[in-house]
């Protein structure tokens, strides 16, 4: 009878201790998961704020380009309408003075995509939702394949031999 009671006590003790061990392990895992989640959340906040700064800077650059290109377009149209004015203002001898119609440079500062590239290669990327990734990928794609590519075409036209001939 006594042996049966001891066995029951032992079994109960074993069950309580096992439950405690399992619970502690699960609790530790839960805490670990929460700490990890919090770290990743902090990293995402940092990543988003870096990308936001980059886009704000790029927006300033693009708005500057837009104003400048508008002025250049006005100059081009002015010279297209009055060829004698073009001959007079654009050429010194046989050489064209590009500065007279485009200023010192056509683009100046270039928009950057460093922050987005860094985020894409880091493990914080899995914290971004599908919508966020889609939004940012499309934006940087328009920046690269649209505006930057067209600017290269214009620079190509300006640098071409035909443009420099009287």
């Amino acid at each position: 009878m006594k042996a049966k009671t001891n066995f029951k006590e032992l079994l109960l003790k074993f069950l309580v201790e096992s439950t405690l061990i399992v619970f502690s392990v699960l609790f530790a895992l839960y805490i670990n998961e929460k700490i990890d989640e919090r770290k990743k959340r902090k990293l995402k906040v940092h990543a988003i704020s870096t990308i936001r700064n980059e886009i704000s800077e790029n927006l300033k650059i693009i708005e500057g380009w837009q104003q400048k290109h508008q002025l250049v377009l006005e100059n081009v149209n002015k010279y297209l309408e009055d060829e004698s004015l073009a001959q007079q203002e654009l050429f010194v001898g046989d050489k064209i003075v590009l500065e007279n119609f485009r200023g010192n440079t056509l683009a100046g500062k270039l928009p950057s995509s460093t922050a987005w590239s860094v985020v894409q290669q880091s493990n914080v990327m899995d914290q971004f939702s599908f919508e966020e990734i889609y939004l940012l990928s499309s934006l940087y794609n328009i920046q690269h394949s649209g505006v930057e590519a067209s600017l290269k075409v214009i620079i190509g036209i300006i640098s071409s031999r035909e443009i420099h001939r009287r």
Partner: protein
């Protein structure tokens, strides 16, 4: 040249609009994260 410039100006306008939209959206998600 004028055609190419017109093209790039409209691309810049489009990109500018997209940038403003993206800024608005990521600011909202950043706000949600910091709440």
């Amino acid at each position: 040249m004028a055609v190419a410039l017109n093209e790039i100006i409209s691309q810049e306008q489009f990109l500018g609009t997209k940038m403003k939209e993206a800024l608005e959206k990521i600011s909202t998600s950043n706000q949600k994260l910091t709440e």
